[in-house]
């Protein structure tokens, strides 16, 4: 526990943590404000579908979750990659090992701290997104439905979204630690994203649903849209990718020589 507490301290106090969250909050607010203003400027009757999709509850939950996961996932991978790569570039991993700390324990504790902080970040973004949805609906003046109509899905959506973002952060973290490069962490997730998009042309959907980002989207989408979500496959798939990324980082840490 002391190790995780120490890791939380370094992750929470890192300027990139605060800055990433602030940028995402601003981005989400701008997206909703921008769409609301644009829809309001449309002639009467033409903004119907966007209003329903973006600001009409309960559909808006799904749109919000997808938006947050798309933007937040890449940001989380870049942020977690920076945390992992920083251990090499600042030689702080070396300091811990020279004090007799276990290499895998140190790397995993840092990942756990990253995932825990991601939970707080996800909750903040979800709150900002919900506020943006309601405020945007009011700006457009169109029918927005009842925000409380599917409020019972929110706890599940919060947890599913956090886990999906955590998976993308874990991939960024794992790749960045193994490659000792933050760029590698974010590049890996971008590569996976494009591979999944192009792969959807030739790979059957029942295979592709196990792919990382598709599984993450599916996990969140099920909670956001379905009244009785079937999350077993995406949950197992995303958990497997988290474990795979953590395992790769721990294995490399255990075998690494530190110059």
């Amino acid at each position: 526990m002391a190790l995780v507490r120490g890791a939380l301290r370094k992750v929470i106090l890192r300027p990139a943590t605060r800055n990433t969250l602030l940028v995402l909050v601003a981005l989400i607010a701008l997206v909703y404000l921008g769409f609301a203003v644009a829809i309001r400027a449309m002639p009467p009757g033409e903004g119907g579908d966007p209003i329903g999709t973006l600001f009409g509850f309960p559909t808006a939950y799904g749109t919000l979750a997808t938006l947050l996961l798309t933007i937040g996932g890449f940001a989380a991978a870049a942020w977690a990659g920076a945390i992992a790569a920083g251990e090499w570039s600042w030689n702080t991993f070396r300091s811990a090992v020279a004090r007799g700390e276990s290499r895998p324990r140190y790397v995993l504790a840092t990942l756990v701290a990253t995932v825990l902080v991601a939970f707080v970040g996800w909750l903040v973004l979800l709150a900002v997104g919900l506020f943006g949805t309601i405020a945007g609906g009011m700006i457009t003046g169109g029918p927005v439905g009842d925000p409380g109509s599917a409020v019972d899905r929110l706890p599940g959506l919060a947890l599913a979204g956090w886990w999906a973002v955590s998976m993308e952060a874990a991939i960024g973290y794992g790749v960045a630690f193994v490659a000792r490069s933050q760029v590698a962490g974010i590049a890996a997730l971008v590569a996976i994203y494009f591979a999944e998009q192009f792969g959807s042309v030739i790979i059957p959907a029942d295979v592709l649903r196990f792919a990382p980002i598709i599984a993450a989207n599916s996990l969140v989408g099920e909670w956001a849209r379905a009244t009785s979500p079937d999350v077993l496959v995406p949950l197992v798939a995303t958990t497997a990718y988290v474990l795979l990324a953590a395992g790769a980082a721990a294995l490399v840490a255990r075998r690494s020589e530190i110059a």
Binding site: A2, L3, R5, G6, A7, R9, K10, L13, R14, P15, G86, W90, N91, T92, R94, S95, A96, V97, A98, R99, G100, E101, S102, Y106, R254, E257, I258, A259
Partner: protein, 315 residues
Amino acid sequence: MHLPPDKESGTAGPAGPAIRARGLVRTYGRRRALDGLDLEVPRGTVYGFLGPNGAGKTTTMRILTGLIRADAGSVELLGQPFRWGDREPLFDVGALIESPSFFPYLSARDNLRVLASTGRTPRAGRIDDVLDAVGLTGRAADRVGTYSLGMKQRLGIAVALLNDPALLLLDEPANGLDPAGIVEMRQMLLALAAAGKTVLVSSHILSEIQAMADEVAIIANGKLVRAGRLAEMLSATGEVRVRVQPEFVARAIDVLAGSGVAASPNGHGAGWLTAAVPPGRSPDINRALVLAEVPVAELATGSDLEGLFLSLTEG
């Protein structure tokens, strides 16, 4: 820099020297950084670890702290066998390897808190004690990224002291320290040794090693070339250095040769001669030169570590 030890830890762990390394070999590609290095550091001493650049000092330190593997050889730390991947022996070792490493965005205190959560947890209040010992209490809340090199070095020493270790491994600890800081560090290391701790110091500042080390090991090309008590090593290789005006150099050599003393110009500068004789013969040399009307501008008795170091590591 003053830090009373938490415990008299010179005898921590099983009996035996603080460090015993046998036949350490380490290669990087085709280059052999360590070539069967033997090293034995007794407990309760300040031990100088010397060698030219690339001799293998830092590689040795890395092996001793488990950062890299040795290709061959064995290590004991504080009487316990130590292999790559072992953790427990390192709980009693404090190390500063090369440049100190910190999270630049954290304060000194937060960096110490993060590091204190790794390895063996130090006692409560230890962080304040080590900050005080290295003179950083007043800047403990400042971000390390704003620190000068010397302040980072002080913080690195604080990290090494965090667990009140029985064995300190310090790689160039005087780097970036101002003269007052160097003196304070020397006094602290001597105090730690007096309390039973063992301090292995590698440094390029040979005068600093000479001022504080009881024993030294000199390595070159990955091998031990000389080890032992510093005083004995220096007296065994005594020399007297004389400076005369450059135009008197040839005459001075002749005069000294007539007295049975072989002298030759050395690398200290124009007019300097070195005679490889015990320091006790310096009055004879002075008298001989003065009687021969060769003005003596300066006379240094005894050998110095620099001369010994160069004689052992050059060529």
